[in-house]
Point group: C2
Chain length 513, copies 2
């Protein structure tokens, strides 16, 4: 320890010329050992449930897809074809919930990267869907394939990122109707982690499933009973599922992959200005989608998705990481557990920069998501500008915050060795423990070693450049890209994937998306 | 709302020329409605308690003050005069705990600023004790009286800061042995809030108590039964109380003011490298001081103080806002509640800047402190560089984070009006709630309005200068100082305080500190 700070500072490696790799926590399943936090009483949960049943039974849900309406009609639900609206009674909800799974596992091409969903497990995904990219050196720019690949390389490099979300940025220089093939190919060759399969239409969904099946060497039938992918079904709140989303949902469900149904209920905009009202609406919309998954294929692995936050009532702009958002993240966990479903939630921020606001907003939402026992923390790394930009620095800061939470979730051990009464007897009053045997045996692994936090004294920090956390994050993502190693893939699999993409591009070019 | 963004943006004031004041939450007692978080099982709490009893009974506590040793000797405790060590058995601990109070209230000169301590109450203090001051415009400098006064003006201005800590910075240009009089005078005239009374020796403690008594128009006897002030007794961990601290503690206890006994147990340095060991030591040291308060004067209002964090094992530098620190903040609350005592804890950060690290570290420790049901969150605003600098920008960022927590603690209401089923029936599928009556009735108060968070879109933010959160904090503290209003004080009280300070400066100058 302080007896040999120089060696430790270089990471304790024998060869002083070789720079130490970025310290990071080992790849391991994160489990939350603490009971879930509750911000609603049982009675309040029931009142929200009842209100959502009222919405489903009496106000109905618009399903723009005729195929989805057919599925509901066959189940006996009341369908108004002219209004494209289905009324779902609580009996049908209960019946559908009877075939869901409380937990399940996604298995990508590398079985060591399996993603457990449900129970006490917590998984973290890369940000999904931003049109823009930003880093402190190159500034803000439109999404593109090069940045796409670099961002997913970061997701591969950092162990705590369990899964890729939907396109981390849109590679806009590629043809819009086939870029999903390019990004799936990048996901499968540059990483070996699970990813989000797009549900914007049947074609995109099926391509992702087929390509993952090729990468795993499985048939579609085998994949059906052994899911590898998840989609997120976004609801056009209030109370509307568009036709592409509904049909994507049905395709993914038919193929046995995971579905998270996530209403985007911004209080005051797409939902009531009150948290109770927004949660009731969220619950009704999530359950409508969940019912549909089970009607299409009973047993479809499905998550309760929630994304309730508020808008800035002065401008209508969306806000994330607010106190209301944190409370919604906790409360929604209570609802998910009422239905015994895995829970997808989001730690977001509205900040335009990877600054102190970005950090405190993310921490608000992240603590809420973790204490609420979120299982899938979607958009957990890189989310900036309320999701409009994927930030390289924010990826790194988010990895740091996620790792802080992982360490928080490591239970305290209390036993004779940990209570250290011998060491306490050895060290005199007013003395110090630096050199005690109890310390020396444990110091190298006793504490979490951060990747961004700088604990130098002010003078040393100034001498070494005085870079703030955001500037240090720039150095870390560059180092992570330098350290990145592409996971191995059998050449025949690589060729089969390439052939699939080429064939599909031809078909889509010929008008068969 | 978005129907009238311009008026709302200026704060809704009639006179558009008058700038809107900084929005802030009303001055009100903060209560935590949620059950405390637990990271230790009941058995683990008992194991830590037992280990701390072993420390008190067998290893002993060094009391450098002969007067303190006398008090312990009179109580029947085993005292080793040569080693200045007292051995406190569990019977004496239990007896002393029998005269403590589970909660009490500090009443400063303005009764509206009363500080409830204990139970579900949470209070937040300004940072205490840094030698340096920093702001983004003037840089880092040694503590001085002008900055001292500006920082306590900020504490007066922001409602969420309930109390001043010990000297927010040392005014080093003033004589060392009388500057406590200058700072008490500033506390009492520039603010009407409670403050920390120094326990570094009898003289400083008594001066603070006398001056507060003058300000309240009470005698010392009246103050004894109606406390206004608190001190913090820092333990020279491991297991040592220096003579000045012990004698300050006794003076404050004799005068019936509040005492928080706070071991500073940095794991790996002043305490074992393991959390269980550090907590056992912390518990023993805190209880030793708590016993002393009750031996001096049974019923002395006393808090269980905790400040356990870790060092950087590469350099020995202290770290705050770490995962270990957050867990210690939660676990220490479990220990405080075991003894039915109010709980003092700390949300700190080691960052050298008011940057993203400052924010995420503070959030880690703050969530831990709040979920652990801390009653007094000491150093809650302005703490930078691990307490070596009072930062103007950090004061503002911390106020923002504290207000986020205050809103998080506002319970969710679930009733017919809040569930908003009428509004949900009125707004069509895919529509929006902006213009609905349910929204319009509530929009102006529905959500927390932040003081720092910027929710503009990227383009508007860039057009308005693209300032990050830290730069915006500079503007806020300058505005807060401009908005600051000195609380009224009767002229005769002001004169009496001035006379007291003059008299004491003469006495101390003549060698009677």
């Amino acid at each position: 320890m302080n007896a040999e700070p120089r060696r430790r500072r270089s990471g304790g490696r024998a060869n002083a010329r070789e720079p130490a790799p970025i310290p990071q926590l080992a790849a391991s399943h994160v489990r939350n050992p603490y009971p879930p936090m509750r911000v609603l009483s049982d009675d309040q949960v029931e009142a929200i449930h009842d209100a959502s049943m009222h919405i489903l039974e009496n106000l109905g849900i618009e399903m723009m897809s005729a195929a989805a309406l057919d599925v509901f009609a066959r189940s006996g639900a009341k369908v108004d074809r002219a209004a494209k609206t289905v009324y779902i009674d609580r009996g049908l909800v209960a019946e559908a919930l009877g075939t869901t799974q409380p937990s399940y596992t996604l298995r990508p091409r590398n079985p060591a990267r399996a993603v457990p969903l449900g129970g006490d497990a917590i998984c973290f995904t890369l940000v999904a869907g931003p049109p823009n990219v930003h880093d402190m050196e190159r500034g803000r720019r439109a999404g593109n394939h090069r940045d796409y690949c670099d961002l997913i390389r970061l997701a591969q490099h950092f162990n705590c990122i369990t899964m890729l979300g939907n396109q981390v940025c849109a590679p806009i220089e590629l043809a819009a109707n086939t870029r999903h093939l390019d990004t799936y190919l990048a996901n499968l060759t540059l990483t070996d982690k699970s990813f989000h399969v797009s549900a914007i239409g049947q074609g995109r969904a099926l391509d992702g499933i087929e390509m993952m099946a090729i990468a795993r060497g499985l048939t579609l039938d085998q994949m059906r009973g052994d899911p590898a992918l998840s989609t997120i079904i976004s609801v056009n709140s209030p109370r509307r599922f568009d036709d592409q989303m509904a049909e994507g949902l049905m395709t993914v469900a038919e193929h046995g992959q995971s579905v998270a149904v996530t209403p985007f209920t911004l209080m005051g905009a797409m939902s009531p200005v009150t948290l109770a009202g927004a949660l009731a609406q969220q619950n009704a919309e999530a359950l409508a989608g969940i019912v549909l998954t089970q009607l299409v294929r009973p047993g479809t692995p499905v998550m309760y998705g929630a994304f309730t936050s508020n808008v800035d009532m002065r401008s209508g702009a969306p806000a994330f990481g607010t106190p209301e958002n944190a409370k919604a993240n906790i409360a929604s966990g209570q609802l998910a557990r009422r239905y015994n479903l895995p829970y997808r939630t989001t730690p977001g921020s509205a900040s335009n920069a990877a600054d102190a606001q970005g950090a405190y907003e993310t921490m608000m939402a992240l603590w809420g998501a973790v204490l609420g026992h979120g299982n899938l923390l979607y958009h957990a790394a890189g989310w900036q500008e309320g999701g409009l930009t994927a930030s390289f620095e924010k990826v790194v800061l988010d990895v740091e915050m996620i790792q802080h939470m992982m360490e928080l979730l490591r239970p305290i051990e209390v036993n004779e060795a940990e209570l250290a009464l011998d060491a306490l007897a050895r060290v005199p009053t007013g003395g110090h423990f630096f050199g005690d045997a109890h310390t020396l045996e444990r110091y190298s692994t006793a504490f979490y070693q951060p990747i961004i936090s700088n604990w130098q004294n002010y003078e040393s920090w100034q001498e070494s450049g005085g870079a703030d956390a955001t500037a240090r994050a720039t150095q870390v993502w560059k180092k992570a890209l330098a350290e990145y190693q592409q996971p191995p893939m059998d050449e025949s699999v690589r060729e089969a994937l390439g052939a699939y993409v080429a064939k599909r591009k031809e078909e889509i070019g010929a008008g068969e998306p």
